[in-house]
Amino acid sequence: MASTSFNHVGIKSISVAVPARIYNNYTDSDFFDADEARKIVDSTGIRQRRVADENICASDLAFAAAQKAFSETGVSRGSIDFLIFVSQTPDYKMPPTANILQDRLGLPGSCAAFDVNLGCSGFVYGLNLAYSLALQPKINKVMLINAETRTRAYSFKDRQTGFLFGDAASALIIEKGIDYGPSWFLMDSDGSRHDYIMIRSGGYRHPSTPESLMERTLQDGSVRSDEQASMNGLGVFEFVITQAPVHIRKILDISGLSENDIDWFVLHQANLAMNSYLIKKLRLDPRKVPSNLDRFGNTSSVSIPLTISTELRDRVKPDARIIISGFGVGLSIGSALISLNKLHISELVEV
C-alpha cells in the first residue's frame, strides 16, 4: 500500500455544484419499461440523479463550485499556486481542462494547473496530492477540483450502468495551518483488472471509427457502443468488499485510533448493496455513514465531497475526524483519515 501522512495541512472549504436538472430513474427512461426500471432502481438504491444539459461540461460545473468557494471564503485568487483538476470527462482531450479553468477563474499565470485522470478513487488521490503540494514552504494555497459529467460516458440503455451515474463538481481550498490535525492516506492499484470499467474505443489504442460509434445490442438486451463505458459490476463489487475493509482497518491501525474516535465514515457512493455490505462487514454504526446515493447517484470522484456537502453541512463538529474511501475504475482504491478544523461547507450550487 502506498502510504502517506501529513500534519498542519487541511481543507479550508468545500463547495459543490450540480446540474439543476433532476432525472427520475423510476419514470424518465425511454428504453426500460416501468417494471424493469423499478427492479433496477430498488436494487441500486438510486432513485434520482442530476444530469447536465448538453451544453454543460465538467468545467462549467467546476467553475460554479470554485466561484462559490472564492466568494464565501474571501480567499484571494492570487493565492492559489496549484489548480488540480481530477476528471475522466474533461472538456477536451487536449488542452488540460485545468488550464481553461485557470483562465476563466482569473487565477494568475504563476498558478500551476494540471489534470489528473482518475475516477471514483480520484478524490482521495487528489487530496493526497493537494496536501503534499500545500505543505511546500513557498506554496500558499491549492485548489482541488473534482468534476464529472459521467452521465455522458455511459449508455442510458445499459442495464448494468444506465441508472447509476450523476453529474457534479466540487472545489476545495487546501492550506497549511498549525490548527489542522494529522491525516493518513492509503492508496492501491490493480491494473490486472483495468478492463472492469472501461471505454474501449475512441482513444489511441482503438481509435474512433464508424463501427465503434455504432450501438450494439448485448446478450442481456442492453444497448451501447464501444465508445461508451462498460462495467463488470460483479467484479468491481468483489474488489471493493475485499479491499475497502482492509484499507479502513489499516488506517485505524496506523493512526492508533478506534472506530469510536471517528465521527464520520464517508464512502464513495457506488450502490446501495455495496455500501450496506461494507457497513455490515466493518460493523460500523450506520448513523455515522452518511449517504445521498438515492438523490444524486454515483458521481464518481465527486461523491465524497458531495456527500460531505449535502449530509454533513449542518452536523459536522469543528474538529471532526472523518475516514473517507473511494474505489473504482483502474481498478484503484484510496482511503484517508482526515482531521477537520472549522471546515466551511457551502450550500449546494445548482447550474
Binding site: S43, N232, G233, L234, G235, F237, E238, I241, T242, A273, Y277, K280, K281
Partner: protein
C-alpha cells in the same frame, strides 16, 4: 462447509431444505442472477472470510467446487 453453503443457496434461491444438491449446477436454477451472486459472495465472505475473485467464480460450476475453492483459499 458444504452444509453451510447448501443453506446459503436454499435461502438465496428460495428452495426447500434438501432440494438443492451439492453436485447440482447452481447456474441452472432460473432464480440464479446477479443479485443472487452478490448475496452469495457476501455470505461466503462473512462466514468464511474468503472472497472469490470473479474470474475464478466463473469456473466454479457446483457447490462442491465452491467448497473446494474456499478450503484451498483458507489453506494458502
Amino acid at each position: 462447509m458444504v452444509d453451510k453453503l447448501l443453506e446459503f443457496f436454499e435461502e438465496i434461491l428460495e428452495k426447500d431444505p434438501g432440494e438443492i444438491k451439492s453436485h447440482n449446477k447452481f447456474r441452472d436454477y432460473e432464480e440464479w442472477d446477479s443479485l443472487a451472486y452478490i448475496s452469495l459472495v457476501t455470505k461466503i465472505d462473512e462466514q468464511f472470510d474468503v472472497t472469490i475473485r470473479q474470474e475464478d467464480f466463473q469456473s466454479l460450476m457446483t457447490i462442491d467446487d465452491i467448497a473446494r475453492y474456499i478450503e484451498q483459499s483458507r489453506g494458502s
